[in-house]
């Protein structure tokens, strides 16, 4: 069974970045967390077994992290990637 990967774009409240990072790192499905400059503050890459797991993670975990203002989930349909 192939895994489903997704990018979650997060807007973070000012002053809560470090806390959000630490909470995100506790999540098993999180593969990378990147702080960016621009319209979003954090881009998280997750890898899940099914959409149910993605729903659980976003609604019941990420949305409840103190400091997360808004999230946008982009599910990857197809990807070309160099290893490493």
């Amino acid at each position: 069974m192939d895994k489903i990967d997704a990018y979650i774009f997060i807007e973070v409240e000012i002053g809560k970045s470090e806390h959000v990072l630490n909470e995100l790192r506790k999540l098993d499905i999180v593969k990378s967390v990147a702080f960016v400059t621009g319209i979003f503050d954090v881009i998280v890459r997750v890898s899940v077994n099914d959409l149910e797991e993605l729903y659980e993670a976003t609604v019941n975990y990420i949305h409840k992290i103190d400091g997360v203002k808004r999230t946008r989930t982009n599910i990857i349909e197809k990807e070309l990637k160099s290893e490493g």
Partner: protein, 413 residues
């Protein structure tokens, strides 16, 4: 369970350590056992090829672990499925790799025969500069200040380490910097290509790649040396071929080389070529203690090693220049996400077009706010200009580009 990132660094590091071991052995062998680079390289490669085939056959033996039957080599490289003959594109690239490797091998042995590890190890890393210059030409790009600084540092360092008895040796410089490194650059490029292509959905494994490139290397090397084989050399080969000391020496030597190459190729498959080269280059430091070790163990053989402290200070400065140059070059990098929207009229697949742009680490077609998420990895932020303005903007159908430079990233590989 060690993390993949750590594994990648360890692979590259040990590849470098093993490489410095066989350079020391070669330096000893070419001075003490067979003082003729042609005879030495012929014996070395033929015995090496035989032992390599032996290793590969042993690694092909299937064993059962946790109910799964796999060849032993699987635990060295998970793409390994036993000895297989390269076909199609793989065969072309392996042939090319073998040809250029034979060029770098013979020049390497010639150079080792009149130098020592402290000189050879820094010079062997010079190809990094060529790889960078190839990038500039291919990208039609202007080098950044950091890149120019690194190129100068490595080149200057390379010249300093070739300094022996207080003067530059033009012969060493031409042979090592131009021929040996030129061929090695081509070899690295072929190997990277071989790692990327897959036949019937199966990727090439490093063990087979090492064996087949060595096979063609030995073939081309033998053809190239043929005209130089006079009676005395043929006699020398006949005498030495069945000597057990020679056999043990070369088996150990090629064992280090085999490990070093397999680890190098595997690291290439896991990460960027420049980072692999940077980590491997740390072995340059080992050249100096190894040379002194050689001089201590066999003083009459390494008699050319000078104890003039001034010369060694210059050599150490040169070595530091080379290492710093390569490290700065490989470790200065900027990452960015680029989000793309395409017009609804354009439905053609642009995934491949984006992926072909240099610096693109991954491109994902997504369902959500945007249509594509591109991850870039470049040396300076200024280079995103080239990628965005000159490459991505030209792709038909893209109506919105949003770039998000990464200021800090945490990831598990």
């Amino acid at each position: 369970m060690i993390s993949k990132k750590f594994e990648f660094y360890l692979l590259a590091l040990f590849s470098g350590v093993f490489a410095s071991f066989y350079v020391l052995m070669d330096a000893y062998g070419l001075k003490a056992i067979i003082p003729d680079p042609y005879v030495y390289s012929l014996l070395c490669e033929w015995i090496g090829l035989t032992t390599c085939l032996l290793y590969l056959l042993i690694l092909s033996i299937p064993i059962v672990i946790r109910g799964r039957k796999r060849p032993i080599g699987y635990y060295l490289d998970s793409n390994f499925q036993g000895l297989k003959i390269p076909r199609g594109k793989s065969l072309q690239y392996v042939l090319g790799a073998g040809l250029v490797a034979s060029g770098s091998t013979i020049t390497y042995f010639i150079a080792v025969s009149f130098s020592d590890p402290s000189m050879m190890l820094p010079l062997m890393r010079f190809s990094t500069i060529y790889l960078l210059i190839i990038d500039f030409i291919r990208e039609k790009d202007v080098p950044s200040a950091i890149e120019i600084e690194s190129i100068l540092s490595v080149t200057l360092g390379a010249f300093l380490v070739t300094l022996s008895k207080g003067q530059f040796d033009p012969y060493t410089i031409i042979i090592t910097l131009v021929v040996m490194n030129g061929c090695f650059t081509a070899y690295t490029t072929f190997m990277k290509k071989l790692q990327e292509i897959s036949e019937n959905g199966k990727k090439n494994d490093s063990l087979n790649l090492r064996f087949w490139s060595l096979f063609f290397l030995t073939l081309f090397l033998s053809i190239m040396i043929m005209p130089f084989l006079d009676k005395t050399r043929v006699k020398m080969i006949q005498k030495l071929l069945f000597s057990p000391v020679i056999f043990i020496f070369f088996t150990a030597n090629m064992g280090f080389a085999f490990l070093s190459y397999v680890m190098y190729i595997r690291a290439l498959g896991k990460g960027k070529m420049s980072i692999v080269n940077a980590i491997v280059s740390i072995n340059i430091i080992l050249g100096i203690p190894l040379t002194f070790l050689g001089a201590k163990l066999a003083p009459n053989i390494f008699e050319s090693v000078s104890y003039e402290i001034f010369l060694w200070i210059i050599k150490i400065v040169g070595t530091i220049f080379v290492i710093v140059g390569i490290l700065v070059l490989s470790l200065s990098e900027v990452k960015a996400y680029i989000l793309l929207r395409v017009g609804s009229k354009h439905t053609t697949d642009i995934l491949d077009k984006i992926y072909e742009i240099r610096g693109v680490e991954s491109v994902s077609a997504v369902a959500g706010d945007y249509d594509y998420v591109v991850k870039l990895r470049i040396r300076t932020l200024g280079k995103t200009y080239n990628i965005i303005v000159r490459e991505i903007e030209k792709i038909e159908g893209i109506i919105q580009i949003m770039s998000l430079p990464i200021i800090k990233e945490w990831e598990i590989l």
